[in-house]
Symmetry: C2
Subunit: 319 residues, 2 copies
């Protein structure tokens, strides 16, 4: 019976990863590890046995004990403080809750001689400043991290490669681009916009004005359900020590996403750009190449933006 | 009155940095910060006022309080677990006592809005695997860290650049190559060889056999007194956010160093290579370019190997 350890289990991505395991219908054991209580309930857990552990991954003795007792086959390390904006306010917190928690896990696995296959999640933020004519970004592109969060992720990646190449651990690395999908916290861009549109619609308005930053930015969004499908395929077929972009290779203007969401909801939207919401370091275009991921695993995305937004809106209406 | 904070003050490099300040004869205040008690006594402290603080730099509140009370003009951050070999046995310890202690210092300085000029020491180990035809290594060379220590130093450098470029701190970075000089711990290569030669000489032997690893390796050694002179010049003239190699640009075979030391001591030496002491990742040649340092500061080395070894032998004889 395969044993999974899913860190950050009360988070957005973990919810969908665990749901994928449930949907696949294979028997397996899953321990979710998180500082917080589970934020999700699953309608049924099917063939999987699921249990949550409250644990602070900064406590290396606690994570060590969990690894020793559970000896997972797969460690799906989704725990992260993943907000770029917050990392500017608390760089040490971002560093510790990305780089140091990861180091605690891999060092625990090393000390116990675990054979676990470990998934180390990184971010397209690691690429930093990239010229528009260099799209799509491949994994060979240089890393020029420009935020505390991005620096923490690059540091995590250096450690992951070291432990994979020089210390015998089995670690697959990703650089994951923008996600969207049901359950993302409402301080993220897309759910915050949809919340405003829904509130206006529910108040009976025909038109809604939204204050925005630069919505001409082009980003490469993947539905979180496609993302976790890529993660599972990488656990099955990825090469240890190798890093894989997780993205679709398709760019969309943020304004197009907003307009599409407004169409689905049935409201007119008017975007009011506020200079104070513009960030000087925002790249005009970020699009990744998923060739390496596709070649290694056969993965491709299945859920288009229309479907993603429809599902997000459906779930947010219900709340 | 300029105020210096010198971390790692009981260490090898700090001893010589403080001695340099004494020798310069300018009045200044120096606080040495270290987990351990001072390992050195200075014959006189001249015009400087010197005080030691026992402090664990992993305790961010303690370093924060020290920065707040002292508000140094210069932070000369020499504290480090700098052994590559030890980092393989304790990667987390190496990471925390290089990267995290540095982050605690710069974040403390940021939170207090200090205008301190900070010296962040890095290592030639950051370059990792480098082909012999790429010598001398300039600062533009890619970083391919191959040990936990090297990864920790690259991570430190990412943080230093981020805080200098995006968070307004004044930080000069180095990548320092091999040092030698009086006071280096005897687990390092040169003092350990000299100790064996001296022991044989003092026992009245004419000949001494030493078990060694690969002594055909070529390294770029700089006397520690030249190194600290470079550090002081960089504090005066370096550009914030810029990284500088600290090296001489001259390579010497390790076997030549041993033979030179044996000549000075007056003993014949026979080197017996032991396969178990060969490290597979050791580069045959590491030589750096000090052009950037020279151009920025006018620095050049003044102490040749003969002088360095003579001074080391003199001090080790006295112990």
């Amino acid at each position: 019976l395969a044993k999974y350890l899913v860190t950050g289990s009360s988070g957005f991505v973990a919810r969908h990863f665990i749901q994928l395991l449930i949907d696949l219908g294979e028997s397996c054991q899953v321990i979710g590890a998180d500082r917080g209580a589970p934020r999700w309930e699953f309608a049924h857990t099917g063939a999987i046995s699921l249990r949550h552990e409250r644990i602070d991954l900064l406590e290396k003795n606690d994570i060590g004990a969990l690894l020793e007792n559970y000896t997972p086959d797969y460690i799906v390390h989704l725990a992260s403080l993943s907000s770029v904006a917050s990392s500017w306010h608390d760089p040490v917190g971002s560093y510790q809750n990305n780089t140091n928690i990861f180091l605690n896990i891999i060092e625990g696995a090393r000390q116990m001689g675990l054979k676990s296959r470990i998934l180390s999640i990184g971010s397209s933020e690691e690429y930093g400043v990239t010229q528009s004519d260099q799209m799509p970004i491949t994994e060979e592109h240089s890393l020029n991290p420009e935020s505390p969060y991005a620096v923490a992720r690059v540091s995590q990646e250096l450690l992951a490669k070291l432990y994979a190449k020089n210390l015998g651990l089995d670690i697959i690395l990703t650089r994951s681009f923008n996600h969207l999908g049901p359950g993302q916290r409402e301080n993220f861009f897309i759910p915050s916009v949809i919340r405003q549109l829904l509130t206006a619609k529910q108040a009976g308005l025909q038109k809604c004005e939204i204050q925005v930053g630069n919505t001409e930015l082009v980003r490469d969004f993947t539905d979180v359900r496609d993302v976790v499908s890529a993660y599972r395929l990488l656990l099955a077929k990825g090469i240890s020590g190798e890093v894989y972009n997780v993205c679709r290779g398709v760019g969309h203007r943020l304004s197009d996403l907003i307009n599409l969401a407004a169409d689905i909801i049935g409201i007119n939207v008017f975007l009011r750009p506020l200079p104070k919401l513009f960030r000087p370091t925002d790249m005009p275009i970020i699009i990744g190449s998923s060739d390496r991921l596709h070649t290694a695993t056969g993965w491709s995305s299945r859920i288009d933006l229309q479907q993603s937004l429809t599902d997000i809106i459906h779930e947010m209406k219900a709340k």
